[in-house]
């Protein structure tokens, strides 16, 4: 039956078991938290047995684990993530309220990463072993060893505190500059490497020589002929990084004191707010899976050869 469906429907249905397994792992792992969840739900305030029992019943914790698991899956499927222990608010609303700062940061970081990565990657790829190439590739190598929280703090110190060029706190677009650079720098390294190697490979192809010999300018050759064929690996990298980032840049948000999903996750772990941890991890992993799917569908549209491959 699956074989006769259009390729995109097959792909879309294909994520159902993945989502089911992912959610099951999150549920299973959080079952291992030691201690009575009811005590955690009440935030450690002393309570009578009666209060504890009522709370247990209200949260469904008096049911056997498999019933809790089925209820959990049912609720996840309709987007009900339960209520947070400390705020008593629906987790889905709490997450929705924090999506914006994380999304802004993800987009800002992506923008910086793309601009830097594409420019350096093309410059390096057009003249392999030239000075731009050598400098970019050694910086990328050093860059993977740099702690992002340290870079963030150094940026704050130099541009925020010493030079006072940009504010280090606030909701404005200018407060987004330094955290975006922090994230962008890390994206740029990997992106530049990918674009460089893809470009070196494509520039050696016959059709590029043909394009050159037709007298096309180098800009036209790179933009119209070479980049088109070198674009899929970089888009994959960016797509997956974006998918991670919209779940909250845990470290960067902490450094720049931004109230996004990443810092919310840390606080939820520290306060042992299990439904909130569960909701955030479910949201992050689901977003990751869905974006992955969208990327695959996109490739299928761009490159018909991919459609025929096994799902």
């Amino acid at each position: 039956m699956m074989a006769r469906m259009p390729w995109f429907l097959r792909r879309i249905l294909g994520i159902v078991p993945t989502l089911f397994l992912t959610w099951s792992i999150v549920f299973g792992v959080l079952q291992l938290i030691p201690g009575d969840p009811v005590m955690l739900a009440l935030g450690g305030t002393p309570a009578s047995d009666e209060v504890l029992d009522n709370e247990r019943r209200r949260l469904g914790l008096d049911q056997p684990v498999y019933v809790q698991y089925l209820t959990f899956l049912k609720k996840m499927a309709v987007g009900d993530l339960g209520n947070g222990y400390s705020s008593k608010q629906p987790v889905s609303e709490m997450i929705a309220a924090r999506v914006r700062p994380s999304l802004e940061l993800a987009l800002g970081g992506l923008l910086v990463g793309i601009v830097l990565g594409v420019v350096l990657g093309i410059a390096a790829g057009l003249r392999p072993h030239g000075w731009i190439d050598t400098a970019t590739m050694s910086t990328a190598l050093v860059g993977v060893s740099l702690p992002s929280f340290w870079i963030g703090m150094l940026l704050i110190y130099v541009f925020g505190l010493q030079l006072e060029w940009v504010p280090i706190l606030g909701d404005g677009i200018d407060a987004l500059i330094l955290p975006s650079i922090t994230i962008g720098l890390f994206l740029a390294g990997g992106l530049a490497r990918l674009i460089r190697s893809a470009l070196i490979e494509t520039m050696a192809q016959d059709y590029i020589r043909t394009a050159h010999s037709k007298g096309l300018s180098i800009v036209r050759v790179v933009a119209k002929h070479a980049m088109r064929n070198a674009i899929i690996p970089p888009i994959t990298l960016l797509g997956l990084q974006f998918a991670v980032l919209i779940g909250g840049a845990v470290v960067t948000e902490r450094v720049f004191a931004r109230a996004g999903l990443g810092s919310m996750l840390i606080d939820a772990v520290l306060t042992k707010d299990i439904p909130l941890v569960q909701g955030l991890v479910v949201y992050t992993t689901t977003a990751y899976i869905v974006i992955n799917l969208l990327l695959e569908l996109l490739y299928g549209i761009v490159d018909p050869r991919i459609r025929s491959r096994r799902a």
Binding site: I25, V142, I156, V281, T285
Partner: protein, 287 residues
């Protein structure tokens, strides 16, 4: 991959030091390791002794890297931090490697349904962003330096298991495994005596490539408040404390960060080179 013979130690060292980057990495790493081992003798002060110098005092001859909020000597704390970071990094990698190798070998060797289910689960685990998986595990284990190492180690298992599974599959069909079976070797014996030795070069490569990010990840958890807790002298935790005072005392965050960066970079430089020497084809691949 074929059965790469492990070179004799002297030749291995000579070839590993074949590039300027690897030499620089080895020198920095050697200094850090020596510093870590001899920290109690090299540190001018007790790393946890407060008021050995004025609060947030700038770097000077007595206090090379300055002092923190409690008047503790930052240089002494960084030296002791090296012990923790290196030890925790090794522990983390050991957890991922041992469990990942075992898991990967077993599912590949069993094959059939066990392999299909195993691969499916591993792929799902790989869909979790690494830091989120580590944080989820900390949520279960609780905060602390040891738990952070455990969390990073466990979150690294699926990736190792995936690579080892692929490598094992290429070995299982080979003649020496068939002949071992033919002479009646037990399954455990084949796994232990025939497959494991052939997988060792890959395991070493994976470990050397992972050590840098293991050190970085555990320091990251400490920075986030999920790993080593104050007053432990740990680089990530020191950076977190230094963040508060960087306006008045930037050295509280500059030096711990520099130490962390140098440690991770030197390990990466050496690991990268070692992986080329041990197995030119396996380096950087993820099976």
């Amino acid at each position: 991959m074929t059965t790469t013979a492990i070179l004799p130690p002297r030749r291995l060292i000579a070839r590993t030091l074949g590039t300027p980057g690897a030499v620089a990495g080895s020198v920095i790493l050697a200094i850090l390791v020596l510093g870590a081992i001899f920290a109690p003798w090299l540190s001018p002060f007790d790393p946890n002794a407060t008021r050995v110098c004025p609060r947030l005092a700038a770097p000077s001859l007595q206090n090379l890297f300055g002092c923190d909020l409690f008047g503790r000597d930052i240089f002494s704390r960084i030296l002791h931090g090296a012990r923790l970071s290196l030890a925790v990094g090794l522990l983390t990698v050991a957890i991922s490697l041992i469990a990942g190798t075992f898991l990967g070998m077993v599912i590949a060797f069993l094959g059939g349904r066990a392999d299909r289910i195993g691969v499916r689960l591993l792929d799902v685990m790989l869909g979790f962003p690494a830091i989120v998986l580590a944080i989820l595990i900390v949520a279960v284990l609780g905060v602390g330096a040891f738990n952070a190492a455990l969390a990073v180690g466990i979150s690294g298992i699926p990736r190792i298991a995936r690579v080892i599974r692929s490598a094992t599959l290429t070995l299982v069909g080979r003649e020496f495994v068939d002949s071992a079976r033919a002479v009646g070797a037990s399954q455990t014996r084949i796994l232990r005596r025939h497959l494991l030795p052939n997988l060792l070069p890959i395991v070493i490569v994976l470990g050397s490539l992972d050590l840098g990010s293991a050190i970085l990840s555990t320091a990251t958890l400490s920075f986030l408040g999920l790993g080593a807790q104050p007053p432990t002298a740990e680089w990530g935790a020191m950076l977190s404390a230094g963040r508060e005072f960087m306006r008045y005392a930037p050295w509280t965050m500059i030096f711990p960060g520099l130490a962390l960066f140098l440690a991770v970079m030197s390990v990466n430089l050496v690991g990268d080179r070692l992986s080329h020497v041990l197995d030119p084809r396996a380096s950087g691949s993820d099976g």
